[in-house]
């Protein structure tokens, strides 16, 4: 009987001991923080990025996310908004098609998903892994892309940063990440995350604000 085996596997699974799941959770942070660096006026050198990153204390932006998969007749489109405040407060919120809110603060993370019974906390996001992620994020905030243990970072033409996994294990999950800057200096236009050449996620940012005043409740409360 196959069902019990399936469930047993499911139940026995601790998603947060998985490197893949850790990466899935941390990616919004990565995107945001790289965006933060870009928002400071992108330079063609890593030194320029480090220098610019020092002035970013907070960021907010709307985003549209498209998920492209070969089996889909069209992309899955999600919309949302993100908020970040230095050193480690993040709110990554989807507003459609299903509301979900990821809150990260002081190294702790919680996620809530909208169901009929209201916004329900997803037990899956007891992100112990975030304890490990935060120092990495701080490194990015300081413009230290090259210190990233997971990805090799490359500058391409002053418009694009390409992150390539350093090890094969991560490479199975993400082939590469492209960060595109807009024409407007210092503003990130889009992020493309390639799982394969024909399976990728595109996140396009708009209404980006650098150093907005962000109420502390944004990072504490889901409503």
């Amino acid at each position: 009987m196959r069902q019990p085996i399936f469930i047993n596997r499911f139940y026995a699974y601790n998603p947060y001991s998985s490197r893949v799941r850790r990466f899935a959770r941390r990616l919004p942070c990565c995107v945001l923080l790289i965006a933060a660096c870009l928002c400071l006026g992108w330079a063609d050198t890593w030194d320029g990025i480090r220098s610019a990153a020092a002035d970013v204390d907070a960021i907010s932006a709307d985003f549209v996310q498209e998920k492209h998969l070969p089996i889909l007749a069209g992309p899955l489109v999600s919309r949302g908004r993100l908020y970040y405040r230095r050193p480690d407060a993040l709110r990554w919120e989807y507003t459609s098609p299903v509301q979900s809110v990821l809150l990260m603060r002081d190294g702790d993370a919680r996620r809530f998903v909208r169901f009929d019974r209201g916004l329900v906390e997803d037990d899956g996001v007891r992100l112990q892994a975030m304890q490990l992620v935060m120092p990495e994020i701080s490194g990015w905030l300081a413009g230290r892309f090259q210190d990233n243990p997971l990805f090799e970072a490359g500058l391409q033409g002053g418009k694009k940063i390409v992150l390539v996994p350093k090890d094969a294990g991560m490479g199975r999950f993400v082939q590469r990440i492209e960060l595109w800057m807009s024409q407007q200096p210092g503003v990130l236009e889009a992020v493309l995350i390639f799982e394969s050449e024909d399976a990728f996620t595109r996140v396009v940012f708009s209404n980006t604000m650098v150093n907005p005043a962000l109420d502390d409740r944004i990072f504490r409360e889901v409503q």
Binding site: P4, I7, R21, Q65, I71, L76, W92, P97, V98, G124
Partner: protein
């Protein structure tokens, strides 16, 4: 709360054995039979759900599920993703389950078989003959199938348009809201009993037929 009580009631009744079904009048049988069949998708469809999985012990996790299925072949292509869109599992069932992409605990053929079994249970009409078309003890109309592998599956439609599928051994019950204009139920709850009970609450994000 009503849904939880209904689930409990269904599980208790199922534990008590097969619910008696009284054959309907002959002129009524074809209508009921047609109604039973209408709950299963026909042709090729793409479905996207938000899936909240509640596991034994009270833990829960939420995913996005994409299903492309064809009732004629039949074939199923399934993708499970995090809410952020990262693919954790992808498999195809064209008579044989093939895992195309999987990570961690999903990297297991038994998991893939279980997923495909659940998808077939929910969306594809049971294989085998309709044994009885009639009225169950609680007054709801429906059909009792005896599948090719000797499982008994009841498809039951309530007066409010909601419907249920219950399988006896292994115990599994689907509770579905009344279908939308496309003939797809916007909310599904799958409850599997046994030692490793679980519940999947599926909220429809989009559904459309594919030419």
């Amino acid at each position: 709360m009503t849904r939880i009580l209904l689930v409990c009631a269904l599980l208790l009744s199922a534990c008590a054995g097969l619910s008696p079904i009284q054959p309907a009048d002959e002129n009524r049988q074809s209508l009921i039979d047609m109604s039973c069949r209408s709950h299963f998708l026909k042709g090729r469809w793409q479905l996207v759900h938000t899936i909240n999985a509640r596991l034994y012990g009270g833990r829960q996790a939420t995913f996005t599920g994409v299903i492309v299925l064809s009732s004629a072949v039949p074939s199923i292509h399934c993708v499970l993703m995090t809410l952020e869109g990262f693919v954790l599992f992808e498999a195809v069932d064209n008579g044989e389950v093939v895992v195309k992409r999987a990570f961690g605990p999903f990297e297991n053929l038994d998991f893939a078989n279980g997923v495909m079994e659940d998808i077939r249970f929910i969306f594809i009409a049971p294989e085998g003959k309709v044994q009885t078309v009639g009225i169950f003890k609680d007054g709801d109309e429906g059909c009792r199938y005896c599948t090719d592998d000797n499982r008994v599956v009841d498809v039951v439609e309530a007066a409010d348009g909601s419907w249920r599928i219950r399988q006896h051994d292994p115990l599994k019950t689907l509770i579905a809201d009344a279908v939308d204009r496309q003939g797809v139920s916007p909310k599904l709850t799958l409850v599997a009993g046994g030692r490793h009970a679980y519940q999947l609450s599926m909220t429809l994000v989009e559904a459309f037929p594919i030419d």
